[in-house]
């Protein structure tokens, strides 16, 4: 598989010309060539990751030559496994600490922001939305470096590098996800339900709490999963804003180890991150389906699950 998969992208333009006649000749027929490309691409995109997961169970020190199965790098090795190595274990807890704190700040803040700009309208609301979207497309290295300069100069005496700075940076970077998802859901709900509640005597706050928030439930849940998963995977921001080794999460450890001499414990660390993100997304997906019935076709779902 490997040499075929490696050459795949380069091979596409050439082969597409040779099969052009059959595909264009009957666009409603079965395009075998496209099928091969698509499944080949999927194999190419996922096999390296599966191999990396498998190597976390390697018995030897190598991450490229298989030496038998063992749980050595997960917990058995007395010094260097993911669980027994103090640095790696600390990094694992730091990853979860940062992700949970980020969810707790970013999701309420972003949900309120989205409700505000959806109902407020007007130019200031549009400008706020534009600013938020701007933070969404800004390359992360720019945000990371500028926050590092902010925390080491202007806010030097208020924010220390480390967990605080990392959470502040992550929230800034993740804030746009709940805003986009909740806003998409708000657009599909419309104001009628709250108006009905208020016709029946509810105050604005009651209408918001008892009618709108429950209806936003699926979108908020999706935001939680998305922000959590993206914070676990975050690397650029948390690296620049980490203080010393104890505040480096798993992603930074993987980066540093990959540049020196990694053991399969690094593969185990990466696998833990993968399990964390995929289970967050899977749990959210199951609940989302249950809460929103089978009408899951609204924009919030497609944004969350990738079609942005």
């Amino acid at each position: 598989m490997s040499e075929a998969t490696l050459s795949r992208p380069a091979a596409v333009p050439q082969t597409s010309a040779s099969t052009r006649s059959s595909w264009f000749g009957n666009p409603w027929g079965k395009p075998r060539f496209l099928k091969v490309v698509t499944w080949g691409y999927i194999v190419w995109s996922l096999t390296p990751v599966l191999i990396a997961i498998a190597f976390s169970f390697n018995a030897g020190r190598s991450r490229s030559t298989w030496q038998g199965f063992s749980m050595r790098w997960w917990y058995q090795d007395p010094f260097d496994s993911l669980w027994t190595n103090p640095a790696l274990r600390q990094a694992m807890f730091q990853t979860f600490r940062l992700s949970i704190l980020t969810v707790l700040v970013a999701v309420p803040l972003g949900t309120a922001f989205a409700i505000g700009i959806d109902r407020w309208r007007g130019r200031p609301a549009n400008s706020s939305n534009f600013l938020m979207l701007f933070s969404f497309v800004m390359p992360e290295i720019i945000l990371g470096v500028s926050l590092l300069l902010l925390f080491t100069s202007l806010l030097e005496n208020f924010v220390n590098l480390g967990t605080t700075a990392q959470v502040l940076g992550l929230v800034t970077f993740q804030l746009s996800y709940p805003v986009i998802i909740v806003r998409a859901r708000l657009l599909s709900i419309g104001p009628e339900f709250e108006e009905a509640a208020m016709d029946l005597g509810a105050t604005p706050t009651q209408a918001l709490r008892k009618v709108l928030l429950p209806m936003l439930g699926p979108a908020i849940l999706a935001s939680v999963a998305l922000v959590f998963a993206d914070s676990v995977d975050n690397f650029v921001t948390v690296r620049y804003l980490s203080a010393q080794a104890p505040t480096e999460p798993l992603s930074v450890k993987i980066y540093s180890a990959a540049r020196s001499s990694p053991t399969p414990a690094v593969n185990a660390a990466a696998t833990v991150m993968l399990i964390a993100t995929l289970s967050a997304i899977a749990i959210a997906w199951v609940f989302y389906k249950r809460v929103s019935g089978n009408r899951g076709e609204d924009a919030g779902a497609s944004v969350t699950f990738g079609e942005l």
């Binding site: 040499e3 992208p9 380069a10 597409s16 052009r20 264009f24 000749g25 079965k30 496209l34 490309v37 691409y41 999927i42 995109s45 990751v49 990396a52 190597f55 190598s62 991450r63 490229s64 803040l109 972003g110 309120a112 922001f113 505000g116 700009i117 109902r119 407020w120 007007g122 609301a125 534009f130 600013l131 979207l133 701007f134 497309v137 390359p139 720019i142 470096v145 500028s146 590092l148 300069l149 902010l150 100069s153 202007l154 805003v179 657009l187 104001p191 108006e195 604005p204 690397f235 993987i254 980066y255 990959a258 690094v266 990466a270 991150m273 993968l274 995929l278 997304i281 990738g306 079609e307």
Partner: protein
């Protein structure tokens, strides 16, 4: 800056009238703005203010003793020496600066082209022909987004080791082991393609999926050849997806330094490596600031284009 944004609501909101104006009667004037203000203040403090600090650092000086950057917050005392020095290095024949920039442009262009061709084929198949497998294919296409980028590059780094599986596989065909990781541009470009292609496929899929079958059938019924149907209907209707994908995929590539750190050497270093190096070196704070400013200048136009396009799309949908 915060006070300015808080004051502006005094202007009459133009869209409120269009939506019937009923809502204005229900809620106190400050009610909805009060939801937005906390997030807005957050963005002003942690998103807008940092850029001012970048300007102040880039146009500031360095403490001669401790090598720490001393930002200058008053624009009238800004010194542009470091900035002009840094810009100057890009065309004064200093290859250490110019090469990474040129390399970045070439790598991003080549990687984007490969992503577009491969991604279009995959998205086209998934949107039009995947049939009963569609749900599964979509999940498999999205799943790389939920796998840490570093893990995915690390996985390739392991496979491309001198004794890795790729060279093992080549050995079966009698091909001598290739040194993939010793500053080979092919490796870095393939790493970029591998890392960022999901961002290309998903917008493409979104737009291709929205083309109604009836439009294509109409084109065929009116006598267009299959090729012409593709060129005149499918391609133009998926153009927003192509542009969105190209922008959303290439923006992070311009700031990428970790792909090269894991798969290349300084012979394949990119613009992101310049920034990262300056950030990590004592006394180069102003230079890091200047490099970030140049990067902002590079990506500003595609960024604004993308924002304008998505705003137009969301207004069209609403």
């Amino acid at each position: 800056m915060a006070s300015e944004t808080v004051e502006t609501p005094k202007e009459p909101p133009p869209r409120a009238a269009a939506s019937g104006g009923r809502r204005g009667a229900w809620y106190p004037r400050w009610y909805w703005p009060s939801f937005t203000i906390p997030g807005l203040i957050w963005l002003v403090v942690f998103f807008v203010l940092p850029f001012y600090v970048v300007l102040s650092v880039a146009f500031g000086t360095v403490d001669p003793l401790f090598r720490l950057p001393i930002p200058v917050y008053q624009p009238w005392w800004w010194s542009f020496d470091t900035f002009t020095d840094t810009v100057g290095r890009f065309y004064e024949g200093n290859r250490i600066y110019l090469d990474p920039l040129l390399r970045t442009l070439v790598y991003v262009a080549v990687a984007s082209f490969i992503c577009l061709v491969l991604g279009y084929a995959v998205a086209y198949y998934t949107a039009r022909h995947a049939g009963k497998w569609r749900g599964l294919v979509l999940i498999l296409l999205i799943s790389p987004l939920w796998i840490s980028y570093l893990m995915r590059v690390y996985a390739w780094q392991s496979l491309l080791q001198p004794d890795g599986y790729i060279n093992d596989a080549l050995g079966i065909f009698g091909i001598a082991p290739i040194t993939w990781l010793a500053g080979n541009p092919v490796t870095v470009i393939l790493g970029l393609v591998y890392g960022y292609i999901p961002f290309m496929i998903l917008p493409l899929f979104g737009f291709l999926d929205r083309i109604p079958q009836s439009v294509l059938e109409a084109g065929r019924d009116l006598g267009a050849s299959p090729y012409r149907t593709f060129r005149r209907i499918t391609l133009p209707m998926s153009k927003p997806g192509i542009l969105a994908g190209l922008v959303i995929m290439s923006l992070p590539m311009f700031g990428d330094y970790y792909t090269n750190d894991l798969l290349g050497t300084e012979r394949t270093s990119m613009y992101g490596n310049l920034v990262d190096l300056a950030v990590g070196t004592a006394g180069q704070g102003p230079e890091a600031g200047a490099l970030v400013l140049i990067l902002i200048g590079l990506v500003l136009v595609p960024m604004l284009y993308y924002l304008r396009a998505t705003r137009r799309a969301s207004e069209g949908a609403a």
